[in-house]
Symmetry: C2
Subunit: 211 residues, 2 copies
DNA sequence: ACCCTTTTGATAGTGACTATCTTTTTAGTT
DNA sequence: AACTAAAAAGATAGTCACTATCAAAAGGGT
């Protein structure tokens, strides 16, 4: 295991710093004038990072917003849950809740600005939702390994995809409520409503008024 | 109810015809030279539809492939299942199975060519997966209405998103197996493995070897 | 200081997509 | 069948995300 204080090489630190600077400038510009009305050239000029580097770093304009320095924390947290042999959905639920508690702690301001932009710009929302596929694939591999399988089966992929998409739904719900609800509670509610296969009209949380 | 033989206006028929012609030409070209190496101008020349119309019809290059004349059949079939008050997941499972049986019946050749391209080109796969959001939203509204709610609750959206993504997983699995498996069986397997919340390592379909 | 490797910057080019305008086609109406 | 208002299709020019390539400038070890 690595020592916590071990520095990565200078080149990597400078790169990460440039990426943070570029993302921060991009958020400023997008908030002021909208995602479509700001060009990559402007972001480059504002952030003192060349256009070529912007594309090298982020790949696409959307990823300038969507990029998250610590976006592997969720996957790591879920992996820990899987190793504790929780139910697939339970592992994901607890892992995500733990990881996001950290994300919205220290640099909560950046995260909130990102989320606000994402839900305001359809192009960004589409990219945000595409993360589901990445999570899903990662979860599926974990589930397979936990059962000693070399490759994920259909049921592994199914559980993984369901878990990943439920996390997305909860994140959107959470932000839609202004970030005031408890994310862990939302995840719990979403996961259990799927897990128990509630029949439509059974009225577990809202009885039809029969009108 | 409308008479089955009632014709839509001439303009709409010509448009649909042009779209089919354009899609068919596009599939030819993409199969020959790859999605990225064919420009919209070439598709326009080949199909005798102007570039402007291509963008009016399809919006994006990806949608030239992804567009499906009858892609509302799935949603309609699921709506029918919901009205019969099935479980959310059951309604989606049966509806999708029914709808796709039709889709791969008459014009199965086009559908297979589309699927082959979609899974061969990452850009198309991303677009294909984005359909999940559309389905999910539609399902959520159905579930809410079935319970007499005016707007979908979190659990409605959760069930809808899970159902939609499971359909995607099954479609991908189905195509990955060369289209030889029975899609309805796959859907059943996927949905039940999520529904029962199988613990990891419980060994329902493969016991861990404990190594 | 020295080289060697990796990273960054600058430049030119491609093509998806938009905006705008003109021309054609369609659908009623007489 | 001819006339007209409305809608759709075509043509054109422009923007900008993204790629490819090469030159310059770091970084990292000797």
């Amino acid at each position: 295991m690595k020592v916590a204080g071990a520095k990565p090489p200078l080149s990597q630190r400078k790169k990460a710093q440039a990426m943070r600077r570029a993302q921060s400038c991009a958020l400023d510009l997008f908030e002021q004038r909208g995602f479509a009305s700001v060009s990559m050239v402007e972001i480059a000029e504002q952030s003192e990072v060349s256009v070529a580097s912007l594309f090298r770093y982020f790949g696409t304009k959307e990823q300038v917003v969507l990029w998250d320095e610590h976006d592997d924390r969720i996957i790591a947290a879920v992996a820990a849950g899987v190793e504790r042999r929780l139910t697939p959905l339970a592992a994901v639920a607890s892992g995500v809740a733990a990881a996001l508690e950290g994300a919205f702690g220290a640099k909560a301001d950046i995260e909130r600005r990102k989320m606000a932009l994402i839900f305001h710009e359809p192009a960004l929302l589409a990219g945000f939702r595409a993360n589901t596929s990445v999570w899903s694939d990662a979860f599926a591999v974990m589930f397979a390994k936990a059962e000693g399988a070399t490759r994920p089966s259909l049921s592994h992929r199914a559980s993984a995809a369901a878990a990943a998409v439920l996390v997305q739904v909860c994140l959107e719900e959470w932000f839609g409520r202004g970030g005031r609800s408890d994310l862990a509670t939302l995840i719990d509610e979403a996961f259990s409503s799927v897990g128990r296969g509630t029949p439509i009209g059974s009225g577990v949380d809202s009885l039809p008024t029969d009108q």
